[in-house]
C-alpha cells in the first residue's frame, strides 16, 4: 500500500489530486494546510508528500522544513504542487528540502507520471 499525503488549502485542487491518485491505486490522506499536514505526518508514514506552497497557517516551505526534520520523512519524496514557476521559488523549495515540483495546471496523466517518478 503506497501512502501519499496531499496538502492544499483549495478543496477542489485537493480533491482533484487525491481522486487522481486514488484512481491509480494510491492510498491518499488530505490536509488543508501545513500545520494539519504535520499533524497527520506525525501519526503515520507516507511514501510521498505533495504540497501546495501558498497556504494559510503554515505555508508549504515551512511544511517541507518541518517534515525534513522528522526522522521518518528524512528521505521521503516531497513534491511541490505550485503555480509559481519562477526559478526563485523552485530554488527556495529545494533549499527547504523539497525533492521536486509539479507545475499547476496539472493534468491527471502528468501528475501520475511525476508521482510515478518518485515512487518505485
Amino acid at each position: 500500500m503506497t501512502n501519499i499525503l496531499v496538502v492544499d488549502d483549495s478543496t477542489s485542487m485537493r480533491n482533484m489530486v487525491s481522486a487522481t491518485l486514488s484512481s491509480a491505486g494510491y492510498q491518499v490522506k488530505e490536509a488543508p494546510d501545513g500545520k494539519a499536514a504535520l499533524g497527520v505526518a506525525k501519526s503515520m508514514k507516507f511514501d510521498a508528500v505533495i504540497t501546495d506552497l501558498n497556504m494559510p497557517v503554515m505555508n508549504g516551505l515551512d511544511l517541507v522544513r518541518n517534515l525534513r526534520a522528522l526522522p521518518s520523512f528524512k528521505y521521503t519524496p516531497i513534491l511541490l504542487l505550485t503555480t509559481e514557476s519562477s526559478s526563485d521559488k523552485k530554488n527556495e523549495g529545494k533549499q527547504a528540502g523539497a525533492t521536486g515540483w509539479l507545475v499547476k495546471p496539472f493534468n491527471p496523466e502528468k501528475l501520475l507520471a511525476t508521482v510515478g517518478r518518485v515512487i518505485g
Binding site: T20, R68, A113, G120
Partner: protein
C-alpha cells in the same frame, strides 16, 4: 488511467465564489491602502492564486488568464515592490465582480461575457506599466514578464514529456534549466552535433551522460537510483559507477553521496527529455549530456580503480543499499544503518550485497564491466497510453454530457465535520436502540412491557436528536447572506454621497440554506431603501444635529421557532401622513379612519406604492416593497415596520428556521386528514349558532368578538364528503393569512405534531389551496393546507356560479 475532471467543476465554482467573497471582504477591510498589512494582502493574493490554479487545471482559461494579471499586481504589492493605491482597490473589487459573473456564467454553461474583463486587464496593465515608469526600475516589469513567459514555458516544459509535437528548439529556448546547468558545450554546437550524429541512426542516438551529484543530494529525497530508472525507460542504459571519491570507512557519512557516474544511453528521446529527468537536481550536480557515436563504450578501467580500498567500498555500498531501503521504508536511524553496513561489509563479498532488489539497474554497482541492458518498451507503452488517452477523452465527453444534463440544478452544501460526526454518533445510538427492540420482540411477553416502553421512549429521543442533527446540516450562518452588504454599502455611499456605517450583528445565527438564498434579495432591497430613502445627506444630518455618518444595522437572532432579521437605520423615519397622501394619490384602497401607525406603514407593502419623490436607480424601480413582502410570505415569514419621524426605521423580518419541517395541527374532514400550519392558527372554537351571520350571497360570517370571520367549509372547498355539514356546534379553526382571518369548518381536531413536508408539485402536480403533503405515522398521506391559496380558491369558486347565473 484517466480521471474526468468535470466532476470537480461544481466544487471549484463554489470554492471560487467563496474565494471571491474572501477577497472582497479583505479589500473592503482596507481603510488606508498605502498602510495595508501584509496578512490582508496575502489573504487576497492567496484567494486569487487558488482560483487561478483551479481554473487553469480545469481549463477555464477565461478565469485563469484574468486572475494571472490580477495576481501579478498583487504579488508586487505583497513583495513591497509597489504600494497599494485606492484606485487599485477599486479595480480589484471590480475584478471580483467580473470573476463572479464569469464563474456564474460558466456554472450555467453559458459562454462568459469577456468585454469587461478585457477592459479591466487593460487597466491593470496600465498600472503595471506605471510602476515601471515611476520607479524607473525595469526590474519589476521584466520580472513580471518573466513570470508570465515562464509559466508558458512551464507548460511547454511539462507538455514535452507527453507531447512530442513541439519542436525541440522551442523547448530549448524556454528552458532556464538548460542555461543554468553546467553543460559545457554551447547550444549551437550541441544541436549541430546532434543533427550530425542523429542522422541515419534508426534506433536512436547514443548519449554520454556524466552525472556527479553533490553529496547532499540524497537529503532532498532525490535518489540517483530513481533518475537512472527513468533514464532506462527512455532506451538502453549502461551505467558505470566511479568510486574514487569514497572516503575511508571511518569518514563515511551514510546519507551523503560520494559516488558519481558515467552513463551511456541509446535512445530516440531528445536531449530535453533527458534533461527533464535531471530537472530537480540540475542545481545540485555536475552534469554533461553529449552525443557520441554508438561505438562509445563506458570506460571500464575506472571500475578497477581503488581496488585496494575495496573493503571500504563494500561498506559504502552496503550502507548505501541499506540506506536506500531505509529511504523506501522511511526509517532513518543512522546508527542502525552504519552497524548494518559493518556487518554486511564484513562478509566481504560485494556481489552478494550489491544487487538491488527492484531492478537490474544498479547505480551503486562497480561491476561496470558487465553491460547491464536496460531495454525498455517505453515507446510501445507510450503508444498505448496515447490511444487510451484518446479513448478516455472521447468517453469523458460523453460522460460530461450526461453529468451536465443531470446535475445542472444540483447544488451542494459544505458541512462541518463535527456535524457529520454527531450524525454518525446518533445513527450509532439508533442502531443500538433498534437491536435492543428487536431482541425484545423475539420472545415478547407482558412482563417486558416496561422495557418496551422504555425502548420506545429511547427511540423517540434518538429520532428527535437525529432529526435535529439532520436539519442542522442544512443550516448555514446568516453571514453568508450578510457578507454582500459591506460592499454594497460602500458602492451606494459612493453613488449617493451619503456617509453610512454598517454594523452586522448575530452573523452566526444559523438559517436554512434555501431560506437564506431566498431572503437575500429582499434584504438587499431593504438595505437599499434604507440608504436611499432613510439616511439623509451628510449636510442635512449635521443641520439636524445628527452624526454626519448615518448608521445601518443588520442583525439576526433566534426568537422562538423563528429567525428575526432586522434592518434598521437612524435616518429620517417614515411619515404616516406622507404615506396616507401617497396612498390617496396612487388610489390604493385603505380605511381613511385608520390611525394605527402599524396599519398605515403596512400600506407601503401594497403594490404600486413608492414614497420616493423621484425614481432613483438605487431602489425606486416601481417593483418595490410589495415584492419584498411577497417573497417573505412565500418563505412562510412576515415583515413588520416600526418607524419614528426623525429617528429612523426598523424593518423586522420573521422567518421560519426551516422549510423542510412544519409544526402542524392535524384536522379531520370526513375520511381525510389535513395539516394546518400551526403558525397560521389563531384559535379553535365550537360554533355557537347565535354568532352565525349570513349575509348576502353564499358567504357565511361568524362573529368572533368584534371581527366578522368568513367561514370556509373545507369539505366544500375540496369537494369531499364530511361527517358534519351543519354549522351549529361544529368545530371551527380560525386561521390568519395576509392579514385576513377565516374560519375553517372541520370535523375533528387531532394531534399537533411536526410534519416533514413533501412537495406535491414534485410528486404529483400543483393543487390550489394545498402547499404540500406529508406522511403520517400510520403511513397515510395527509395534505397540508395553504391558507391564502385556500382563500383564493374559495373566492374564485364563489365567483364562478355567479357568472354562470
Amino acid at each position: 488511467m484517466s480521471i474526468d475532471l468535470s466532476q470537480f467543476h461544481q466544487v471549484f465554482f463554489e470554492e471560487a465564489l467563496e474565494g471571491l467573497d474572501i477577497m472582497e471582504q479583505a479589500l473592503l477591510s482596507i481603510d488606508e491602502p498605502q498602510f495595508v498589512d501584509d496578512e490582508t494582502i496575502n489573504e487576497i493574493f492567496r484567494a486569487a492564486h487558488s482560483i487561478k490554479g483551479g481554473a487553469a487545471t480545469l481549463g477555464f482559461t477565461q478565469i485563469s488568464d484574468f486572475t494571472h494579471v490580477l495576481e501579478t499586481l498583487l504579488d508586487e504589492i505583497r513583495q513591497h515592490k509597489r504600494t497599494l493605491l485606492s484606485e487599485m482597490v477599486e479595480l480589484f473589487l471590480k475584478s471580483c465582480d467580473f470573476l463572479r459573473d464569469t464563474t456564474c456564467q460558466l456554472m450555467q454553461d453559458l459562454t462568459p461575457e469577456l468585454t469587461q474583463g478585457s477592459e479591466l486587464i487593460a487597466a491593470f496593465e496600465k498600472m503595471l506599466q506605471a510602476v515601471e515608469e515611476n520607479e524607473d526600475s525595469s526590474d519589476t516589469y521584466s520580472e513580471m514578464n518573466d513570470s508570465i513567459s515562464s509559466s508558458v514555458v512551464a507548460e511547454t516544459f511539462f507538455g514535452g514529456m507527453l507531447n512530442e509535437s513541439r519542436s525541440s528548439d522551442e523547448k530549448m529556448e524556454g528552458k532556464n534549466m538548460a542555461e543554468n546547468s553546467l553543460i559545457k558545450s554551447s547550444k549551437e554546437e550541441v544541436i549541430d552535433k546532434e543533427n550530425e550524429l542523429g542522422n541515419g541512426a534508426g534506433d536512436g542516438k547514443t548519449w554520454k551522460i556524466y552525472f556527479k551529484p553533490e553529496p547532499q543530494i540524497l537529503q532532498t529525497g532525490n535518489e540517483p537510483f530513481r533518475i537512472f530508472r527513468e533514464l532506462a525507460q527512455l532506451g538502453e542504459l549502461e551505467a558505470q559507477c566511479h568510486c574514487d571519491l569514497l572516503p575511508d570507512f571511518e569518514e563515511l557519512v551514510v546519507d551523503e553521496c560520494f559516488l558519481y557516474w558515467t552513463l551511456k544511453l541509446t535512445t530516440q528521446a531528445s536531449r530535453d527529455e533527458i534533461l527533464d529527468i535531471f530537472e530537480w537536481v540540475i542545481d545540485e550536480c555536475e552534469l554533461t549530456v553529449e552525443l557520441v557515436s554508438p561505438e562509445f563504450k563506458v570506460d571500464q578501467s575506472a571500475a578497477e580503480e581503488k581496488k585496494d580500498n575495496l573493503k571500504g567500498i563494500i561498506s559504502e555500498e552496503a550502507a548505501s543499499e541499506d540506506m536506500l531501503k531505509v529511504n523506501q521504508s522511511n526509517l532513518g536511524a543512522t546508527e542502525e544503518i552504519t552497524s548494518n553496513g559493518v556487518t554486511s561489509g564484513a562478509k566481504g563479498d560485494a556481489a552478494t550485497i550489491v544487487p538491488l532488489k527492484e531492478s537490474s539497474v544498479d547505480p551503486l554497482s562497480n561491476k561496470g564491466q558487465e553491460r547491464v541492458p536496460l531495454n525498455s518498451d517505453e515507446s510501445d507503452s507510450k503508444k498505448i497510453i496515447d490511444k487510451s488517452k484518446q479513448k478516455s477523452i472521447r468517453s469523458n465527453k460523453k460522460e460530461k454530457e450526461v453529468v451536465d444534463r443531470g446535475g445542472a440544478s444540483a447544488s451542494s452544501i459544505r458541512v462541518g465535520i463535527d456535524k457529520v460526526d454527531s450524525l454518525i454518533n446518533l445513527v450509532g445510538e439508533l442502531v443500538i436502540t433498534q437491536s435492543m427492540l428487536s431482541e425484545l420482540g423475539n420472545d415478547f411477553d407482558l412482563d417486558k412491557l416496561e422495557r418496551l416502553s422504555n425502548g420506545l421512549e429511547q427511540l423517540r429521543q434518538n429520532t428527535r436528536e437525529l432529526q435535529e442533527s439532520v436539519m442542522k446540516i442544512r443550516m448555514l450562518p446568516i453571514s453568508f447572506a450578510f457578507n454582500r452588504f459591506p460592499r454594497m454599502i460602500r458602492d451606494l455611499s459612493n453613488k449617493t454621497g451619503k456617509k453610512v456605517q454598517l454594523t452586522l450583528k448575530g452573523e452566526h445565527t444559523e438559517l436554512d440554506k434555501t431560506v437564506m438564498e431566498q431572503i437575500s434579495d429582499p434584504l438587499v432591497h431593504l438595505v437599499r431603501n434604507a440608504i436611499d430613502h432613510g439616511i439623509e445627506t451628510p449636510e442635512r444630518r449635521v443641520a439636524l444635529g445628527k452624526n454626519e455618518e448615518g448608521s445601518i444595522v443588520l442583525s439576526a437572532c433566534h426568537q422562538g421557532g423563528n429567525i428575526v432579521v432586522e434592518v434598521s437605520d437612524d435616518g429620517k423615519g417614515i411619515d404616516p401622513e406622507a404615506i396616507l397622501e401617497k396612498a390617496r394619490d396612487k388610489n390604493i384602497h385603505f380605511d381613511e379612519a385608520e390611525t394605527d401607525p402599524q396599519k398605515i406603514f403596512d400600506l407601503i407593502f401594497e403594490p404600486g406604492f413608492s414614497t420616493a419623490e423621484s425614481i432613483s436607480d438605487i431602489s425606486g424601480r416601481g417593483v418595490g416593497m410589495d415584492v419584498v413582502r411577497r417573497n417573505i410570505k412565500d418563505l412562510g415569514g412576515r415583515i413588520e415596520v416600526e418607524s419614528k419621524i426623525g429617528k429612523g426605521s426598523v424593518f423586522r423580518v420573521y422567518l421560519p428556521l426551516t422549510l423542510a419541517i412544519l409544526d402542524g395541527q392535524l384536522v379531520r374532514v370526513g375520511d381525510e386528514v389535513y395539516v394546518i400550519p400551526l403558525v397560521s392558527i389563531v384559535e379553535s372554537l365550537q360554533i355557537k349558532s347565535k354568532n352565525i351571520n349570513s349575509v348576502s350571497g353564499n358567504m357565511i360570517l361568524y362573529r368572533l368578538r368584534e371581527d366578522n370571520v368568513p367561514i370556509i367549509p373545507v369539505y366544500k372547498a375540496f369537494n369531499i364528503s364530511a361527517d358534519n355539514t351543519e354549522l351549529d356546534n361544529a368545530l371551527l379553526v380560525v386561521v390568519e393569512s395576509d392579514g385576513r382571518k377565516v374560519g375553517l369548518l372541520v370535523d375533528d381536531l387531532l394531534a399537533q405534531q411536526q410534519v416533514v413536508i413533501k412537495s406535491l408539485e414534485g410528486n404529483y402536480k400543483r393543487v390550489e389551496g394545498i402547499s404540500g403533503a406529508t406522511i403520517l405515522g400510520d403511513g397515510s398521506v395527509a395534505l397540508i393546507l395553504d391558507i391564502s391559496g385556500l382563500m383564493h380558491k374559495v373566492a374564485n369558486q364563489k365567483k364562478k356560479p355567479k357568472r354562470a347565473a
